[in-house]
């Protein structure tokens, strides 16, 4: 197997991966970015509403980074590591200014400064935006700048597994999708920036490529996933396509109504109403539907009709486009049909605020794949784009320091790399059996039904048992496509392997946590229990078994309070 040598390898070409690569390459190190798609296709492009930032001199005069931190901590139902939230808020202005200098075309105020608007859970408006395509704009801007730096891009290369030698990470094995040739990328640092896992759920706003590859690679190499039970469901996904209707629609004044035309959020969040955090609104919508106040098919209305044509066209053009193209509805004079769908994963590869995994030297993670934890039990809107850039940058700095003080290791990892390739081929070597689609669709249903917005012991136990069964079926998968060029069926099967590894971890952690906090809601344990559960879950996958450990939450200034909106 051919070997390529780099100082650092970044797996994933979205915002976090590109930002990390930019920082490390700018410091003179040799960096490779491995992405299974051309970087601008990354899911970062789908983010719509904006990026939250406190910019001194360009924020609400009453606002303050501490308010931003407080909003984040409370939004995360106090599971947030508060030093991480503080860092996020403090660096937010810097990051937005950087993006602006790099040419990101933020909407402007009349005097030429970057404009601002409200988002869910914010005390003061602090979201900066580029129409409602902020993610796409920032992704392109970051890619533009990074691609001018001499970073080696391996686009449409699929990462199979991390290479470990003892306890240190030595690199990653990846396959060029076009030629199907495997390569060993040897490096002192590997940064996982592979994004989310929405495809594990039947209804998700995520791209088809979000198959949790990074989480699984981390698990397989012995690293832990922190807070795996926390899955965010976005309240307003378009019915029936699950395309995201940005929170910005509510931020700009959109209102949720049930089949009686009532603004039902008055019952669930009397102060913040439709701009309460996502878990609150998602549960509200599902409850309304379950109690018969939804529309046939299972959705409610998002009403923008009172906002006026020009306003909607200027601020929410993507919402109009999505509603018209995918649901046949014109938001200017009709309400949009929406329902919750999986949207973001708060859980992730365990890292500290600096982006390094505390147990495995050489392993770093940034972006959605990482759990710092800055979002705790629930993420606030417009914090995800911010997270990718702030922690992408911090992780970059950390990697630079790491590279400066870590020498090359001499032992060969060729054998380990060969083993990884063999294992990847092994489980798709059968001549007959079941193909990935069958297993995948069943898994997606189970996750949605039993490990979804509302959970309970019986459902979770059933899920765990079924998922274990499916996971063992994965080893008997067969790939019909024998093509040696761009064989997507083969890669889809590997993606399924990754999703199944994570699925058993999530369902087990959800069963263990006997409380409700943020996005994790137990019908049988509906209250938050700080006495027993104010701690992070750490989950390890050892063969067939999921092992659970715990880690304290870092609390600096904000003591847990009752979370009312």
């Amino acid at each position: 197997m051919e070997k390529l040598s780099y100082d650092a390898v970044v797996v994933g070409g979205g915002l976090a991966g590109l930002m990390t690569a930019y920082v490390v390459a700018s410091s003179g190190f040799k960096v490779a970015v491995i992405s299974k798609v051309f970087p601008t296709r990354s899911h970062s492009a789908a983010a719509e509403g904006g990026i939250a930032a406190y910019i001194p001199g360009n924020s609400d005069p009453n606002d303050d980074p501490d308010y931003m931190t407080y909003d984040t901590v409370k939004g995360g139902d106090y599971l947030v590591d508060q030093d991480a939230a503080e860092l996020l808020s403090q660096k937010s202005g810097e990051i937005v200014n950087l993006m602006e200098r790099w040419g990101a075309l933020f909407n402007r105020q009349p005097d030429g400064r970057v404009a601002v608007r409200y988002f869910g859970g914010q005390t003061y408006p602090r979201t900066r935006f580029v129409g409602d395509k902020t993610g796409m704009a920032l992704l392109h801007t970051t890619f533009e700048q990074t691609s001018g730096l001499g970073v080696d891009f391996y686009n449409e290369w699929f990462a199979l597994d991390l290479v470990k030698d003892g306890e240190a990470i030595r690199g990653v094995v990846a396959m060029e999708m076009k030629s199907m040739n495997p390569y060993l990328f040897q490096s002192r640092a590997v940064v996982l920036a592979t994004g989310g896992m929405g495809m594990m759920y039947k209804h998700t706003t995520n791209s088809y490529i979000n198959t949790g590859d990074g989480y699984a690679m981390a698990l397989r190499v012995g690293a832990s996933i922190k807070d795996p039970e926390f899955v965010q469901f976005h309240p307003t996904a378009l019915y029936p396509s699950d395309i995201l209707i940005s929170e910005a629609a509510r931020g700009e004044g959109g209102v949720l109504r049930n089949n009686k035309g009532e603004r039902f959020m008055t019952k669930y969040a009397p102060h913040k109403l439709d701009l309460a955090p996502r878990d609150v609104v998602s549960r509200a919508i599902i409850t309304e539907i379950r109690e018969g106040r939804g529309f046939p098919g299972g959705y409610v209305h998002l009403d923008l009709t009172h906002l006026g044509e020009n306003y909607i066209k200027e601020r929410l053009s993507l919402a109009i486009e999505a509603a018209e193209n995918f649901a046949g509805v014109n938001p200017i004079n009709e309400p949009i049909p929406v329902r919750p769908a999986q949207h973001y994963y708060m859980g992730g590869v365990d890292v500290d605020t600096n982006g390094a995994n505390p147990e495995m030297p050489g392993l770093f993670a940034a972006g959605e794949v990482a759990c710092v934890s800055v979002h705790g039990a629930n993420r606030l809107g417009s914090n995800s784009l911010l997270e990718t850039l702030v922690f992408g940058r911090e992780t970059g700095y950390t990697v630079v320091e790491f590279l400066k003080r870590t020498g090359e290791r001499s032992s060969s990892v060729q054998e380990e790399a060969e083993r990884i390739v063999k294992e990847a081929y092994q489980f798709v070597k059968s001549e007959s059996g079941v193909h990935f689609g069958e297993i995948q669709e069943t898994m997606r249903e189970i996750m949605w039904d039993k490990v979804g917005v509302f959970r309970d012991e019986e459902g979770l136990k059933e899920a765990i048992s079924k998922l274990r069964e499916l996971r063992s079926g994965v080893s008997k998968m067969y790939v019909r496509d024998r093509s040696k060029v761009y064989n997507t069926e083969f890669f889809n099967a590997l993606e399924l392997r990754n999703m199944m590894d994570l699925a058993v971890v999530i369902s087990r952690a959800a069963l263990d946590r006997k409380e409700s906090r943020g996005a994790h809601y137990r019908n049988d344990y509906p209250k938050r229990d700080d006495v027993n559960w104010l701690k992070h879950t750490l989950a390890y996958l050892r063969g067939e078994n999921v092992e659970i450990a715990y880690k304290p939450v870092r609390i600096t200034r904000w003591k847990p309070e009752e979370r009312v909106y």
Partner: protein, 325 residues
């Protein structure tokens, strides 16, 4: 039945559709595969392809990611038209074209890798050729100075800056075979930076983009197929309007600018385009004399003698066009 006000959604019309896909692999070459599926009003082509893969034939290869028209992965030709599969609804397509089946093929122009996956290297190299990144002044890049952007500039730049690199415009462009023509996407992307008041690479950009801009044939294919309404041909027009930025003119720029000026002058002085004069001004008298031969051979020489009248209210026309000359 119309959509939603009272919660009654569009007819959830279920229909069986026949999908024919042009497949390809390096061993077999091209062949056609046929699939049958039941879809409803909402089902987009990306979902059709996904279901073919997951329920019927897992060997089908295609690119798709965001399913909402922002990533540019799923460009292909559907019923003869270059489109994004995610923004094309199966039933709507059949209603529009009146066809009985849906024909899916890879995009034109780019070489096929497997099935619907094409090699996009040519497209990427065009984009990178225009240095698609802002080069602000040093002090700004270092955070020592601020260069604000006016709201109207943000609007114009964003219109052309939201290209998702899908490649559809290039696949449909007839002028693309001209080696010196960058193609619609790169022109639009390049214009976004050329026209950005904060960029410092203007001279270099002008040279590349302006020469290329005069090679577009204004066929509006790019405008028609662009899924993000970027209207690349308008970027070309706006780039041509900035020709004065490019000092050392290439042939096409020289002729193009002269011709454009001749058109404006003719309209300002007579209200109409007097073709013979305009052509002569653009290409020069000696070229015009040579082309006389072809004119006479075509039998249209007789129209040379016909004098078209100028506009009577020429003052009004002059006032309107005045600034252009």
């Amino acid at each position: 039945m119309e959509a939603g006000g009272k919660g009654v959604l569009k007819m959830v019309e279920q229909r069986e559709v026949k999908v024919r896909v042009k497949r390809f692999d390096t061993e077999k070459g091209n062949w056609w595969a046929e699939y049958k599926l039941v879809v409803d009003w909402y089902t987009p082509m990306t979902e059709v392809l996904r279901r073919i893969k997951v329920e019927i034939d897992p060997t089908l290869s295609y690119r798709a990611a965001c399913h909402m028209g922002v990533c540019g992965s799923c460009s292909m030709k559907i019923n003869g038209k270059p489109r994004l599969a995610c923004k094309t609804r199966a039933i709507e397509l059949l209603n529009q074209t009146g066809d009985e089946e849906i024909v899916v093929e890879p995009m034109d122009y780019f070489p096929t890798v497997k099935d619907l996956v094409v090699d996009m290297s040519d497209f990427y190299s065009r984009m990178f050729k225009v240095k698609p990144r802002l080069h602000p002044a040093r002090e700004v890049m270092e955070g020592k100075a601020e260069h604000r952007l006016k709201p109207e500039d943000q609007r114009t730049l964003w219109k052309f800056g939201q290209c998702i690199w899908c490649g559809l415009c290039v696949s449909a462009c007839p002028a693309i075979e001209d080696q010196d023509f960058l193609g619609p996407a790169a022109q639009a992307k390049g214009f976004r930076f050329l026209a950005d008041p904060r960029d410092t690479l203007t001279e270099e950009r002008a040279k590349l983009l302006i020469d290329s801009a005069w090679r577009c044939t204004y066929c509006y294919q790019c405008f028609e197929v662009c899924p993000r309404d970027i209207e690349p041909v308008e970027a070309v027009k706006k780039t041509r309007a900035m020709s004065s930025l490019y000092k050392g003119r290439s042939e096409v720029v020289r002729v193009g600018v002269r011709h454009s000026e001749a058109v404006a002058e003719s309209i300002a002085s007579t209200g109409k385009i007097m073709e013979a004069l305009v052509y002569t001004k653009g290409y020069g008298a000696s070229q015009a004399v040579k082309d006389m031969i072809f004119l006479l051979a075509s039998g249209r020489g007789k129209y040379l003698l016909v004098k078209e009248t100028s506009v009577k209210n020429i003052e009004e026309v002059k006032k309107i066009v005045g600034g252009a000359t």
